[in-house]
Symmetry: C2
Subunit: 181 residues, 2 copies
Amino acid sequence: MKKFEEKTYEKETIYQGKIVRLEVDSVTLPDGNTSKRELIKHPGAVAVIALTDEGKLVVVEQYRKPMEKSMVEIPAGKLEPGESPEVCALRELEEETGYTTQKLEKITSFYTSPGFADEIVHLYFTDQLHRLEESPAGDEDEFVELMELSLEEAEEMEKEERIHDAKTAYALLFWKLRGQK
Amino acid sequence: MKKFEEKTYEKETIYQGKIVRLEVDSVTLPDGNTSKRELIKHPGAVAVIALTDEGKLVVVEQYRKPMEKSMVEIPAGKLEPGESPEVCALRELEEETGYTTQKLEKITSFYTSPGFADEIVHLYFTDQLHRLEESPAGDEDEFVELMELSLEEAEEMEKEERIHDAKTAYALLFWKLRGQK
């Protein structure tokens, strides 16, 4: 769907980083006027809602520089070039949690910040986890701590804003709805 | 919480736009090594889950330049400097939908992309809508089309990926859970 399309007549790449690229596009609006759009290009990401045999949610705590605080989130990570979301989801699960699975179910995908960024999160679910004997090494500049939470513990952390991101908030609602079926 | 804190020893502002600022921070990691973090600073946003007297969800379709497609989302918008989230939520509801309300309930807030951006969305709910006689003017470079959807219609649009963003995906789960109480 291209309703209200904004046609680009000039595109400027301001910055090409390791993770994001910043572009400023000059566009013609539906009424013929012009405007500028600041756009963040991102490789995309995956996240996994993983429940243990005890019915607990696997989460990781890590420092999130943009907010200058540590946050508790479901396991997630960026797509490597050419990597499929499913392969990436399994890799991130193994690296961040030391669990693996034979069964990853695709739940949905969503753009996180459609106003200014093209980051998409592909979301997977599993309740069939097996512990790896040894966790594969993750990114060398990532420090994460593993936790397993009951729904009550997770909701308490959400109240305290230790859980405070869109994909994990979505995961908690998904988990609640699933429990009610 | 500052677990695994990454201390900044140098900060470079690459770009200050109308909406986002791009910074690259040089940081010291918990193990003493150093790394760089690409950070998008954003003013923050609000979104409103608004149900009509007929029990339909109010949504707007608009063109989203980062994805080069139009998307159907719950009403939302950026905070103006100094504006409170609640005032912003009411303003965006009125501008984008022509509805107003006396009762906005805060549901939650979440960071949309904690890996690289500090954008937070403050989420509100109302099922007490009144039509304004005249809609206030919104941003002059925003073109939106109003729709009202049943849950079934909204879920169908999600399958077709016309609804395809985190806050609206969250809104649909919230709506479903609420209906089951």
